[in-house]
Amino acid sequence: MKKKYLILICFVFMKYIGFAQEKKPLIVDSSDIAKNHKVNFCFTWFEAGAGIPLKEKKLKNLPYGMNNYLYSPKTSFAGGLFGIGLYYKNHWGISVIYSFQDYSVPDADYRDYISSQFPNYYLPFGVQGHTYTLNNIDYRLSYRFRKNRFTFEPQFQLGINDYNDFDTQFVLKEKGSNNFIEYSIKKENQKKHILSYQAALVTRYRFTKPQWKWNIEPGIRVSFMLTPTDYNYTISYNSYNAPATVNKVNIKQLNPNINITVVMGVFRK
């Protein structure tokens, strides 16, 4: 499954580059040609938008309620700041950018599951599904080409992420007594590094004049992203002074999602 997605990312990326190579003899904007250098510098001020997580079918039948805990993604915030890049002859580029994403889930499915498991208990504040954040420096390989005032840039992005994943624990109070159940989900990462892979297409509009040294380039970036994770989960619960029920399960996820962000940057002519 993982290989299939990776092949898909590579295919999409190469397809765009192939398309670009075919369309190379384009109408050239004279304002670009005037000061064309061998190596061009690009600065991305910010990227901001939404991440749309895609559901993974294989998570549907997980035991111990983990399907409800994990299988309910919702739109996340996706952003990037202060990217710098170098482009060779206005085409091939490498760049780095600080990027971050914040994933949370709607609580309803998981809360319903816990309610059904413990009907005689009050549900406390804090019963929520899986949340995590990703942030770090990401590295991009890209190919830039243009048509009239528009610039198109397919990108492949690799991120070596800080993946902050929070343990879940809460206390359920029994109705009519002081008894309670302590419930917890502990997570143990099985990977040394959590990498993310993205195939993206950035479409920019170039604001430029012959006397300007820089193009101002706002645009839209659409990407498909995978963040494979491998976690050992320990789900335990126990009543006061009673032995705990402990369940363990290993879950591998790809965390596929689509990011759509607005991009603002400048490009040295």
Partner: protein, 185 residues
Amino acid sequence: MKNIILLFISILFFCLASCAKHIPAEYEVVSMSLTNAQNTGESPSESTNNNVPKQAYAIKMILNEEMRKKTDGDAEENGFINEDKLVGLNIFSLYAFDASHPANTSLNDYFLTSLSSSSTISSFISKGQIGGGSYKNGNYTDSWSTNQYLYLMTPPALPGAQSFVVKLDLSDGRSMCDTVNVTLY
């Protein structure tokens, strides 16, 4: 240039102001009293009479506090600290509780300070903190009271009357003690 210098000074001032150290205000617990509470619902509430279900019984400890040392700045941001630390808390009954706990023996192991297995009386004492601060609209108040519940986690096998005593010892040598009568059913 002048504007840039002014801007720089403003940013520097803002940074220094926002990094100012917050010194907690100090309060003191001046007295303590007990009432019965029942915890059949989502959270405990004071009992209207002295008959409480034994599996949902809690002692409500009302701590009367006074401000001792106010500090500059916003009360909420500064936080609070109790002037005299809690060094001892003992709960016992004037009646026999069960076969292993005759009258006047400690029942600390049967109570929790909150509904969490780690909230034992011994861990409560080891933290030394008792009571809590109070403020209104960011300003200090001079006197107030806070409630601390003590949950009975191991009820007696048989229903009956109990007379619980709670004794607090503070680091300045003061002790506070009160008794509450209840019929557990």
